[in-house]
């Protein structure tokens, strides 16, 4: 029995019933990683001995009668932005190459506690800055649907790992769409929880007021199970919300939209959107209507300003967050030959340790926060942020959820936008508003675009702390579409082991 293509929920059941051990499941997934990751390049770090030791420990806990979480025994791919005390944490940056944190992120600790087995650390855009994983200092990750295409980003290693069956689950972080966009372009479910719903402690910061850890999976239920496993209040993160986790698993199982009011965001669509993306999006909306939802068009007039506001706020925060990488205490150190001052070593290290996109954003943010420019840039962007939150508030007075395409296009070729940052930034056009407002949003597969037979994502946005609503809608769409397709969308992806042979 191969466990590779099973969902996390199925694996958890096999483990719970004793039909499979955590070690067997882990061994099969390690085999899959060996077989395909040479081409996909989803992982930066896999230590097989460590993985097997973790799995054996989980088996021992079960044998000892310990009550484990609902995902016990299930392997998971962990984005390299979460600290792990038994694995390096690099954020795909040379400046942190080989850095082994002395502590576990809260989410890392909760995964361990719940009995999940961490297979390794996944590739990402350096410090989560990018939409293609091409900004990794350790080389790009490839989209399992087409190895010449990007897997999205910044959580592109995570999306590629799950889409190529190297792991049933993955963690991601979403600052401007970094979970939803890679999920959309690889045919996965990716969820950005309400800001503050999942702990940032031990998540290497890109933009603190936007960064949101979340789950990535092949099914809505799996995403909900993982969401529930690692969410909830964390006293180590003062922006963490001290409220019960919304009932996301229950919502994923419920999967009905009868009577739900759904708003289509008028501002998303038209020029710059791939026809195949819009076609699948429209069909998904019609499907929801046929399932009993009431669909209306809703205008969010300030969403058009979200992208420029984001590209002032996120770089501003990153310019400060990344100041700590200075060669003094950990990480890369360049030019320390006894003749140079600390300041010179800092400058040389940062010049060599950061990639071009990270430098671009640090400079942009430094400029935006400078005295004399602060009001015009950072200050103005914060005002736009308030207006966007108000747009959401007004919209959610009329409807229960908002929907849009997750991304304007399907996965683009590796290299195509690498030298055109503006084109790259457009990938997050539809996802950014929910980061600025802090509300919940999910991406769920809604088919393949006709032009390129690549996955398209439907984005469902719900108010702050109404995360369960996004799962309800996504699960309804998933169930109806899988009926139509006769199985999961990923079943239509090429078989990588065939391709590799």
């Amino acid at each position: 029995m191969s466990t590779i293509k099973k969902t996390a929920a199925e694996l958890a059941e096999l483990f719970a019933s004793g039909e499979a051990s955590a070690e067997e499941i882990a061994r099969e997934h390690l085999g899959r990683i060996r077989a395909v990751d040479g081409d996909v390049k989803a992982f930066l770090h896999v230590d097989e001995d460590n993985v097997l030791a973790q799995a054996q420990a989980v088996d021992a806990r079960r044998a000892a009668g310990e009550r484990l979480g609902p995902l016990a025994g299930v392997p998971i791919a962990h984005k390299d932005v979460f600290t792990t005390k038994d694995m390096p944490t690099t954020c795909s940056s040379k400046i942190l190459e080989g850095w082994q944190p002395p502590y576990d992120a809260t989410i890392t600790a909760r995964l361990r506690e719940a009995g999940l087995v961490i297979l390794g650390k996944t590739n990402m855009d350096e410090f989560a800055m990018g939409s293609s994983t091409e900004n990794s200092a350790f080389g790009p990750t490839h989209n399992p649907w087409d190895l010449t295409k990007i897997p999205g980003g910044s959580s592109g290693g995570s999306s590629a790992a799950v889409a190529s069956y190297q792991a049933p689950l993955a963690t991601g972080t979403d600052t401007g769409g970094s979970i939803r966009q890679p999920a959309a372009v690889t045919g996965l479910v990716g969820m950005k929880p309400t800001y503050g719903g999942s702990s940032r402690y031990g998540v290497v910061a890109f933009a603190s007021s936007l960064d949101t850890p979340g789950p990535m999976a092949r099914t809505v239920l799996d995403a909900a199970l993982l969401h529930e496993a690692f969410s909830g209040h964390d006293p180590m993160d003062s922006t963490s919300i001290d409220r019960p986790v919304p009932p996301v698993v229950e919502a994923a199982r419920r999967a009905d939209v009868e009577g739900l009011r759904i708003g289509v965001v008028k501002e998303f669509g038209g020029d710059g959107y791939q026809p195949g993306v819009l076609a699948r999006f429209r069909e998904a909306v019609e499907l929801l209507e046929s399932l009993g939802a009431k669909v209306v068009e809703v205008s969010c007039p300030h969403f058009g300003h979200a992208l420029p506001a984001y590209y002032l706020i996120a770089p501003s925060e990153c310019s400060s967050n990344l100041a700590r990488f200075d060669a003094m205490r950990y990480g890369l150190r360049v030019g320390d030959d006894g003749t140079r001052s600390a300041e010179e070593v800092m400058a040389l290290t940062r010049a060599e340790g950061f990639g071009p996109e990270v430098k671009r954003r640090i400079m942009l943010g430094t400029y935006a926060l400078s005295s004399g420019y602060y009001d015009a840039y950072y200050g103005k962007a914060q005002q736009v942020r308030t207006l966007i939150a108000r747009d959401f508030d007004a919209a959610f007075e009329q409807v229960d959820v908002l929907v849009s395409p997750t991304t304007p296009t399907t996965a683009f070729p590796i290299g195509e936008r690498a030298d055109d940052p503006m084109a790259m930034y457009l990938a997050d056009l539809c996802t950014i508003p929910s980061n600025l407002a802090g509300n919940a949003a999910i991406s769920v597969p809604c088919g393949l675009a006709d032009e390129d037979r690549l996955p398209v994502g439907l984005q469902v946005m719900a108010p702050v702390l109404a995360d369960d609503r996004t799962y309800r809608v996504a699960a309804a769409v998933e169930r109806a579409l899988q009926d139509r397709w006769g199985g999961p969308l990923l079943a239509q992806a090429p078989d990588l082991t065939e391709a590799v042979k």
Partner: protein, 498 residues
């Protein structure tokens, strides 16, 4: 460029000083501002650190409520308004002793605003307006090794100790202090002194300037007498004693007057004060001012101290120094000078405690201010460091009051207590100290003294009663101070003239 100093009194005839004082006070919370690490002073380097105060990637700050309580207490004592909502801000600059290369501080939204503190100099009251009191975290401490000066210039390498990084720091900023004239240095010192007393009374910091838990940055500028346009200021950093506060202001007045007299501009810069010479030297120029790129700290939620809590802190606060001084002055019937001496000697707490424990105020004051202060000075220690307690003073005072000891014997009792011979009663017992009140024994001694001093005895017989003092002295000597001197005198006069 050497500047000719203008003598202080002369400088004041042509210029009017304007001061501004920024004081940093480390709060005495058990744990740091944003993590659980200990704040204890003097631990081996880098032993009181964790991912948060080391600013490791991924770590996040969580505000220590005890620190917020401490700053609100200070703000209230300085008559500030406590705002209903404010935020932390990041102050961005690169320096190796800053783990994150930004400091969590407050910028345009301080927690406490618009207060004042009254200080007294030579019987006159000066109201120092407080602009703001805000909360921030301390940095680590750099140690520059291999140079002559201990400064970074010329050093061979540097070491950083992060134990201090993240200790809660309160910054108190005055508004410009004007119209103090030639009293400016004294006003500055009086302000720092009063602030220290205030914070100590609140119990939120040990405010030890020599350990750096209180440090002052002193801004001084001069404007021509009669002008209302302020001059360019210098900022003397990290002045770490009350005396230095006074001296640094004095020196800056003399120096800046020299610069202005020579027709030059005062440079806006930070300066360092040197205790040995009483002078300041140039530090970093602010002409190329650092841009700190302040912005609201996104890792922390805004502070919104509940009104009821603030009211509670105001109601429950201890008696503040000014009120206490007024009360003590009235209760003990002191002159301004006497009160000031007690405060300066650091004896107020001790005397009050002694009085509370049952001694007469006058007795308590007499022993602490005369005898014990002298011993402390001789030994070069603070009065509080002497191994004698208020309870000891109470007991000695009682023994004197009931006639069991006289002052001379009492001093011998303190000798014993200070020498570690035990409690006053134990010392009295061991040393056999008690007034000789046995008339027969005393009479015998007096007879011997009279016999041994026939000349003096003759004078007394001749009516020179005042000469009896010499014989009393001899009696006291013979009894090792244990005789009742008054009774001895009576008996001598009686024997020679009666």
């Amino acid at each position: 460029m050497t500047t000719t100093l203008v003598p202080y009194d002369e400088a004041l005839t042509r210029y009017e000083p304007v001061l501004g004082i920024e004081t940093h006070i480390e709060l005495g919370t058990k744990s740091k501002m944003f993590c659980g690490c200990s704040t204890e002073f003097g631990a081996p380097p880098n032993t009181q650190v964790c991912p948060v105060c080391l600013g490791l990637p991924g770590s996040l700050p969580v505000t220590n409520q005890a620190a917020i309580e401490g700053i609100i207490k200070i703000g209230l004592a300085l008559n500030c308004s406590i705002v209903e909502w404010c935020r932390f801000a990041r102050k961005n600059y690169f320096y190796p002793d800053m783990p994150k290369n930004f400091q969590i501080s407050q910028y345009d939204e301080p927690l406490c605003v618009d207060g004042h503190l009254d200080v007294e100099v030579d019987g006159e009251t000066y109201r120092i307006e407080i602009e703001r009191v805000h909360m921030e975290e301390d940095t680590g401490k750099s140690l520059h090794v291999g140079g002559a000066t201990g400064r970074i210039q010329g050093a061979d390498h540097s070491l950083v100790d992060y134990n201090r990084a993240g200790i809660p720091l309160v910054e108190i900023v005055t508004k410009p202090i004007v119209a103090t004239g030639d009293k400016a240095p004294l006003v500055a010192r009086a302000y720092a002194t009063e602030l220290r007393e205030l914070v100590r009374a609140l119990g939120v910091s040990d405010v030890r300037m020599e350990q750096g838990s209180m440090r002052c940055d002193v801004n001084v500028s001069l404007m021509p007498a009669g002008s209302s346009v302020w001059g360019t200021r210098s900022e003397t950093k990290n002045v770490n004693s009350l005396r230095s506060v006074e001296r640094s202001v004095r020196h800056e007045i003399e120096r800046q007057a020299g610069v202005l007299d020579a027709g030059e501009r005062v440079i806006q810069e930070t300066r360092h004060f040197h205790e040995d010479t009483g002078t300041t030297t140039s530090g970093r120029s602010k002409e190329e001012a650092q841009d700190y790129r302040y912005f609201p700290e996104p890792d922390l939620v805004p502070m919104a101290p509940p009104r009821e809590w603030v009211d509670e802190l105001l109601t429950d606060r201890p008696e503040l120094p000014a009120a206490r001084r007024a009360r003590v002055r009235a209760e003990w019937s002191l002159s301004d000078k006497e009160l000031q001496d007690i405060v300066n000697a650091g004896a107020l707490d001790l005397i009050e405690e002694t009085v509370r424990a049952g001694a007469e105020a006058s007795a308590a004051r007499k022993w602490w201010m005369n005898e014990l202060s002298r011993r402390a000075t001789e030994q070069g220690v603070e009065l509080t460091e002497l191994p004698v307690t208020p309870a000891d003073v109470v007991r000695v005072s009682a023994l004197v009051a009931e006639g069991a000891l006289n002052d001379k014997l009492a001093r011998q009792v303190f000798d014993g207590v200070l020498a570690g011979e035990g409690t006053p009663d134990e010392v009295v017992e061991k040393r056999g100290l008690k007034i000789v009140s046995d008339e027969g024994e005393l009479s015998t001694v007096i007879d011997e003294v009279i016999a041994g001093n026939p000349d003096i005895a003759e004078k007394i017989r001749g009516g020179k009663v005042a000469a009896a003092g010499a014989l009393v002295g001899a009696v006291m000597k013979a009894t090792r101070g244990q005789a009742d001197a008054g009774r001895a005198r009576e008996l001598i006069i009686q024997k020679l003239t009666g």
